[in-house]
Amino acid sequence: MAFKIIEGCVNCWACEPLCPSQAIYEAQPHFLTDARKCTECEGDFLHPQCATICPIEGVILDGVGLAVNPPGSLTGIPPERMAAAMAEIQAR
């Protein structure tokens, strides 16, 4: 099983040095993980390090494809509130 970085990653470099398996690498348009190297930090850390420091919700998926940090979990902004604010800005 391996973690995956998807669209939305802002290339902040926070995860890269923390990975105990050197499975994360710089790429365009965003960082990627090497599925052959990723161990989900098994045996190294209690919590998978990339997803534990990542500041962007929804951009790191776990082994079964679920967002480790779902919307609202890092910023504290309720997703419906975010959606309403975005709709309001679009309508201006």
Partner: protein, 504 residues
């Protein structure tokens, strides 16, 4: 009210660094005059630490530090935006080598540049290799540039000694609270010892590290400025305590900044409708904290890749592809820089002398009108050098001064085009001019080099006296002169309407 005759009522012998140590002195626009000589020497040409210096000297930030180890409710980590101007936003992320090339190019093109800071767009100390490598190279290649760093403080204790090795003598720590309960409303989480720690527990760790880092820096003789973001309803009362604590621990300057929160920034506070402070609220808190220590009022909350004088951003002139085409002879540039800095110092000294004379003449008022005159606010349009040298219509910000019968005091700045120029957030039919006039609310005069017919009329209508008669004069001298004229005309006898004063 007593009118002080400067140089008579206070035995203020001119210090070797120039200027005057009395607090009512017109030459003391810096409010740093009472600091020990060693500290004044360090900050006298630092635009971020010295209010007077910021008229003359430029700074730049290089965006080498994208990673962060905490989340703040006023920050959105999607940092790449060309339209916004607020901390934590950049257009182009640089490697340390690119950053060094950029610094050399800017220093050669803008000889007034004295300071290089690393401020983000994440936390510089959460990117220790990139940050320290930049400093290491610059301390060798550009020894005439001051190096500074700003940080949230979480990683500070662990890195203090390495920072000191790189000749960094200015550090800014952002400290918004000393109480974890308050902190939990500002910081949703911190990354600490390989865990994401939320709420009060996370805030407590951050606060402990900040305070420890502050103490360690002071022990090692590093100058520490503390930045605090004023968040109405969250920490504005608490910041008075913060000010006392950080002063007791040896921070030399406290910078209380207003929260920037707009929905379009996508931050927690922006989306949740948390408001920033009004000009009056900010000023009142700064005044209260100023009783305890040096208060900074000229901060422009720069982007993490800003270039130029405070309040201006010439970053577009120094993108990596433009720099690649420049030829830089740094040895020669250092010579030029030295000459330019000497000329600036001579200019500043001359302005100080003239300001001193000007304030003595302010006391002539005593003979004209013995009546007590009230203090008032004036707005100033300037492009730098400490002069009234900008057309009203070109001003993107105004400096606000309070003039009274005894002195002229710098209060702060007000931006004309607000932080995000990406969209119109201010309502329907309001013109740019109306917005500008609203920005100047509470001021009774505006000083500029020139002004058009239309704004003249609208300003007058709004109770703000336009004045273009002091073009190219030193700001404080001109403000004092206008105050004197208005006092002579009897326009400053009565108390200003309460609403006017309160909104200042």
């Amino acid at each position: 009210m007593e009118l002080k005759v400067l140089g008579q009522d206070t035995p203020a012998a001119p210090s070797p660094g120039g200027g005057c140590a009395s607090s009512g002195c017109g030459g003391n626009s810096d409010h740093l005059a009472h600091l020990p000589e060693a500290i004044r020497e360090k900050v006298h040409n630092h635009p971020c630490y010295s209010e007077e210096a910021h008229h003359h000297y430029a700074r730049m930030h290089v965006a080498v530090a994208p990673a962060c180890n905490i989340q703040c409710h006023y920050c959105n980590r999607k940092y790449d935006c060309a339209n916004e101007s607020r901390p934590g936003v950049v257009s182009e992320l640089l490697t340390p080598d690119q950053a060094v090339t950029k610094v050399m190019a800017v220093a050669a093109s803008i000889p007034q540049m004295t300071v290089l800071g690393i401020a983000g767009p994440g936390d510089p100390l959460a990117n220790p290799e990139r940050t320290l490598s930049t400093f290491r190279q610059l301390s060798e290649k550009a020894p005439d540039i001051k190096l500074c760093v700003s940080t949230n403080g979480l990683a500070l204790p662990a890195l203090v000694d390495e920072l000191c090795q790189h000749n960094i003598d200015h550090v800014t720590i952002t400290i918004n609270c000393v109480d974890p309960e308050v902190g939990a409303q500002i910081y949703p989480w911190v990354f600490w010892n390989n865990r994401r720690i939320r709420g009060v527990e996370g805030a407590k760790i951050l606060i402990e590290q900040q305070q420890k880092g502050l103490e360690m820096l002071v022990e090692r003789g590093v100058l520490v400025k503390v930045n605090s973001v004023m968040i109405p309803g969250v920490n504005e009362e608490h910041l008075k305590e913060v000010s006392e604590v950080v002063k007791a621990k040896g921070a030399f300057l406290h910078n209380v900044m207003p929260l920037i929160a707009e929905a379009e920034h996508g931050t927690f506070y922006g989306i949740m409708g948390q408001r920033g402070p009004t000009h009056a609220e900010l000023q009142a808190l700064q005044d209260e904290c100023a009783g305890d220590m040096n208060m900074m009022r000229h901060c422009r909350q720069c982007r993490a890749d800003a270039v130029g004088l405070l309040g201006e951003d010439r970053g577009d002139e120094f993108t990596m592809d433009k720099i690649a085409e420049m030829e830089i002879d740094y040895g020669k540039a250092m010579e030029t820089r030295k000459q330019v800095h000497e000329a600036i110092e001579a200019d500043r000294e001359a302005q100080r002398q003239r300001a001193g004379q000007c304030f003595v003449s302010l006391t002539e008022l005593g003979g004209v009108a013995r009546k007590e005159t009230r203090p008032m606010l004036m707005a100033v349009a300037t492009e730098g050098h400490g002069l009234i040298n900008q057309h009203f219509g070109h001003a993107r910000e105004f400096l606000i001064y309070e003039a009274s019968a005894t002195d002229v005091r710098f209060i702060g700045h007000r931006k004309v085009d607000l932080y995000c120029s990406g969209g119109d957030t201010c309502g329907d039919a309001e013109t740019a001019l109306q917005k500008t006039i609203r920005t100047l609310e509470g001021c009774e005069a505006v000083l500029c080099s020139k002004i058009g017919f239309e704004p003249w009329g609208m300003l007058e209508e709004a109770g703000i006296m336009p004045n273009g008669e002091h073009a190219m004069e030193p700001i404080e001298e001109a403000v004092a002169a206008v105050y004197r004229e208005m006092a002579k005309d009897g326009r400053l006898d009565a108390q200003a309407p309460e609403t006017l004063r309160m909104r200042a």
